[in-house]
Subunit: 310 residues, 2 copies
């Protein structure tokens, strides 16, 4: 198994993308997808994956399932002349939960463990139903853009935690999917925990682990704000930080959700991987996904770059 | 890893159940679940899992997600007083595809391999979207009955084939889920194939592998006919075979779909495990799931038992 993983590591990953829960769902409405944002994000991902190729137009869709209120999708062999994703697609997508899963997890305390309690066990089941529902809809949105995406739940992959830190996370199946030309789509999930029975493995922690193991060229966090500010962005004097040099991260005054993200991002930057935190579904996110920011940050780009300076 | 699997094997599995695609979907209508049948099957599974316990009534649901056209599900800690599934639930569920996945797979030829062809790759993605949609709906139906079910896709588990036979199928995660008190729900899936790139791993082949590794007390195939007949059941003189002794199986004149099932069932019987093929959502299926048929087959039971006689 170890030998196989080594073999997979030799093939380079271009980009790991985090679709923030707040960017792709309506965070104040239970289990509602922000369809407009998700569609733009999917389109930008397709453009970024095939950048530099001769066929930038949208390919035939790969979701051939019925949809509520929509007509069926049909396909013919002629639609699939060329594989636009054959060589250039080496992306991994991870998404958060947003308004999916959080209600179920917090209501039952899945993150605190205790699977022996009936309410926690029920909450574990309910949380997984909710987050895998979202995963399926994101895979479908990507597939409709012609992106060969495959959903991969961390729980099912055998990922587990030990007091909420990753204890086991076999990447061999993720690597095989990439080597076969697919885009793995992982997500924050309820998982088994060696010490407390169960816990919640967040998308941000998954991203850090994937980055450490797969060593992508860059990592993009798509969020619902422009980037990282020097204070909570609701304050009128808040200033967007265009670049954070890794060693200064701890000094910034940031809010809870963003703090976790920055901590994880800083740990990725420490590996020598550029990290971009950028607002989803904007021209800035497209440039970040394209890898245009590598080396220099243009003045007309808004977002936050986290870099490591040794 | 080997040591862990050995440890898991020491805990006994009571029953592996196959929900036949034809029994839980409307086979002539694309992606339509047979909701009435699925609800009865889910209820019977709950009854079988907690048989002998003091709380045979339906427990609180574990699907707390919104449903199209239905009101939201709420729960309180008081609803979850006792864990009815704590000790007695050691079941594994595997379902077929029915009217999900078959269209996508046959349209693109996923079963014949060739992932380098864009149509096959698209079909692989489309097939997985369809079968995981069905898996999610079955997990939800079971959860609504209070069964702590967790969806586990074979592709994501890292299962793969070699010219359509199982090449790799790590059961450690399935075993861990069972040991944590969950009911794993697997399904026929599009998987990677070592020689031809990709293929379809059928639910019946999964069942045989699970039975060989987990050694359940008995295996139940829920189908849309009463059992195995001596000729195609549409013929007026067809006779239901109540018992098949393993060595005679090859002599029976059976139709395509049923032939695969009987071959797989015979290979399970050869392991010394009783196999029942029975019509879903009937009093006969409930008795089979309950394990009432072990040792003797009552005269008023209709179905087919496949046993090994050495």
């Amino acid at each position: 198994m170890e030998g196989k993983q080594e073999r997979h590591k030799t093939k380079s990953i271009r980009c790991i993308v985090k679709l923030g829960g707040a960017a792709i769902t309506c965070k104040n409405e239970l289990e509602k997808i922000n369809k407009e944002s998700l569609d733009i994000v999917s389109s930008q991902l397709r453009q970024a994956m095939i950048s530099g190729r001769s066929t930038p137009t949208k390919g035939p869709g790969m979701d051939w399932s019925k949809r509520h209120g929509e007509s069926e999708v049909f396909c013919t062999e002629d639609d699939f002349g060329e594989d636009a994703f054959a060589d250039s697609s080496r992306f991994v997508v991870v998404h958060g939960a947003g308004s999916f899963g959080h209600f179920q997890a917090s209501k039952s305390g899945v993150h605190k463990g205790g699977l022996g309690q009936p309410l926690v066990k029920a909450g574990f089941v309910a949380t997984r139903i909710s987050v895998t529902s979202l995963n399926l809809e994101i895979v479908r949105a990507l597939a409709r853009e012609g992106i060969p995406s495959v959903g991969m739940s961390p729980f099912t992959c055998g990922w587990s935690t030990s007091e909420r830190n990753i204890a086991a996370a076999d990447l061999s199946m993720v690597a095989k999917a990439i080597d076969s030309g697919f885009i793995p789509v992982l997500h924050g999930d309820a998982v088994l925990d060696e010490l407390q029975g169960c816990s919640i493995l967040s998308g941000d922690v998954i991203i850090r682990h994937l980055a450490a193991q797969l060593k992508p060229e860059y990592v993009v966090f798509l969020t619902d704000v422009l980037g990282v500010y020097d204070r909570p962005p609701v304050e009128p004097t808040a200033v967007l930080l265009q670049e954070i040099v890794e060693t200064t991260v701890a000094a910034h005054d940031t809010t809870g959700g963003m703090m976790t993200k920055i901590t994880e991002a800083a740990m990725i930057a420490r590996l020598g991987i550029d990290v971009y935190i950028v607002k989803a579904a904007t021209s800035y996110s497209l440039r970040a996904l394209n890898g245009e920011l590598r080396g220099n940050i243009p003045d007309d780009w808004y977002g936050t770059v986290i870099r490591f300076v040794s």
